[in-house]
């Protein structure tokens, strides 16, 4: 299997260790990823979509046209990119007037949106690769590790467009965490948004959402939080320190990107993953490893 690879600018330019883990994992599962020449920011579902839906779709469609030229489905890492590209893909395939408008714009760039590829998120790609294959690859099950999953809003909502997992009580991510031998634990306000969308205008108040989340996670005696999206990663890993500084409590809850967890379970050495770049130390998780 091979995909047109779309890590997204947040991962590429802010959190390269996430890209590192993802590439390692995809490699272990024989999923080939191809670079997309000329790809830019997906379009950004928050700031860009808010300023103009049509420009947002056009930028997304431009990125999709690159994958179409490659003849490959798009694999996104960031949930924001997933929402943007998938929304554009679904909407433009469905609504002809919109597609005509966007193609009017793209034609000036010598491009066209044809609607010939699909957009997938990382979990979908893993599902396609086969859960058996992952199960077989898990040589060091993360037994006893209590994981609080945070799926991230843009992976499952709006569900009428994304159609991936249940928008209110999703199951796929938890299943994958269990697959790594760890235990996904229930906790209160599990679906609460990380608050990245609020960060831009109200950073302090957005940190309050991080604090609430961390309170619930620690209440559930979880060893770590697992995320899939770089925005959630920044909120929980980086902002956790802000929360600490502003006397909101000292949680010290490690935040891991799911590919990092799965790589560890598949026998990758911690050093290979750049785990030291996490702002909140992940030592306590590494110590728990069998």
């Amino acid at each position: 299997m091979s995909y047109a690879f779309f890590p997204g600018c947040m991962i590429q330019l802010r959190l390269p260790y996430m890209e590192q883990a993802a590439r390692k994992l995809l490699d272990l599962l024989d999923i080939e990823v191809l670079e997309m020449p000329g790809a830019t920011c997906c379009g950004d579902p928050i700031s860009f979509q808010s300023l103009g839906r049509d420009p947002w779709l056009a930028v997304a469609a431009r990125n999709l046209s690159i994958a179409e030229e490659m003849g490959k489905d798009v694999l996104t890492l960031c949930s924001g990119c997933y929402e943007t590209l998938k929304t554009a893909n679904v909407k433009l395939k469905e609504e002809k007037p919109l597609r005509d408008y966007v193609n009017g714009v793209l034609s000036k760039l010598g491009r066209e949106f044809k609607g010939t590829v699909e957009v997938k998120n990382l979990l979908e790609a893993l599902e396609d690769a086969g859960e058996d294959k992952i199960e077989d690859g898990v040589v060091r099950p993360l037994k006893g590790l209590r994981v609080a999953t945070h799926i991230g809003c843009h992976l499952v909502r709006p569900s009428d467009i994304l159609g991936f997992d249940d928008p209110i009580r999703p199951v796929v991510f938890d299943r994958f965490v269990d697959l790594a031998g760890a235990e996904s634990v229930p906790y209160v306000q599990k679906m609460l948004c990380c608050g990245a969308g609020l960060r831009m205008v109200e950073a302090k108040k957005s940190a309050r959402l991080v604090e609430m989340k961390l309170e619930h996670v620690s209440e559930a005696d979880a060893d770590c939080i697992a995320v899939l999206c770089p925005f959630c990663m920044i909120q929980y890993d980086v902002t956790q320190r802000t929360v600490k500084r502003s006397d909101g409590g000292d949680f010290r809850i490690p935040v891991l990107y799911y590919p990092e967890l799965l790589c560890l379970a598949m026998g990758v050495q911690p050093e290979e993953l750049g785990l030291e770049h996490h702002r909140t130390s992940v030592e306590s998780v590494l110590k728990k490893l069998p």
Binding site: C9, M10, Q12, L13, R14, P16, Y17, E19, Q20, R23, E35, P37, G38, A39, T40, C41, D44, P45, I46, S47, F48, Q49, S50, L51, G52, R53, D54, P55, A58, V59, R62, V105, L106, K108, L109, R111, C153, R157, P158, S159, P167, I168, M191, L192, C193, G195, A196, G197, L198, M200, V201, E202, K205, S206, R208, L209, M212, G274, H277
Partner: protein
């Protein structure tokens, strides 16, 4: 804006008027949890009561995280988060948009990325053995923004 924009009128007729005012959108709204003054139900209520000018010029619509939980739980299919997007689009077209949103968009127009490029990260990528981040698409993105009218919105604010 003296007259209600047509798109907004349509939105109110087709979606907003169905609101039961049940507050399901409030219950799990992350912003409402962090910002007590923010109440998504009241945005809808204001639109119903004719307060669209306040809504469009106010700051509340820019606080939504677009987590789309309200969209999923609304019993009447009002689709609050989508309405927020439409309202933001309308406000932006009329020159009301927070500078942070504009800055992020300008960043994109100039570099092709919303995230800022820092040399330290580029160095780290090298250390990790990751491929270079190439930026050959910038020109096309800039043109796209011009053709779709977004460039005007960004400029207005600068001027």
């Amino acid at each position: 804006m003296k007259e209600m924009p047509e798109e907004l009128d349509e939105l109110i007729q087709e979606k907003v008027l169905f609101c039961y005012q049940c507050g399901a959108c409030v219950g799990s709204c992350p912003t409402a949890r962090a910002v007590p003054e923010y109440n998504p139900r009241r945005i809808i209520e204001k639109l119903v009561m004719g307060g669209w000018k306040d809504v469009l010029s106010g700051s509340s619509i820019w606080l939504c995280t677009l987590c789309h939980t309200c969209l999923e739980v609304c019993p009447q299919g009002v689709g609050l988060s989508r309405i927020i997007i439409e309202l933001r689009n309308l406000a932006a077209r009329n020159g009301v948009a927070p500078s942070e949103f504009l800055r992020s968009a300008r960043q994109m127009a100039s570099t092709g990325w919303t995230a800022t490029v820092s040399s330290s990260v580029l160095r780290r990528r090298k250390q990790l053995g990751l491929p270079d981040v190439e930026t050959t698409g910038v020109e096309e993105v800039r043109k796209t923004l011009e053709l779709t009218g977004l460039a005007d919105i960004l400029e207005d604010k600068e001027g």
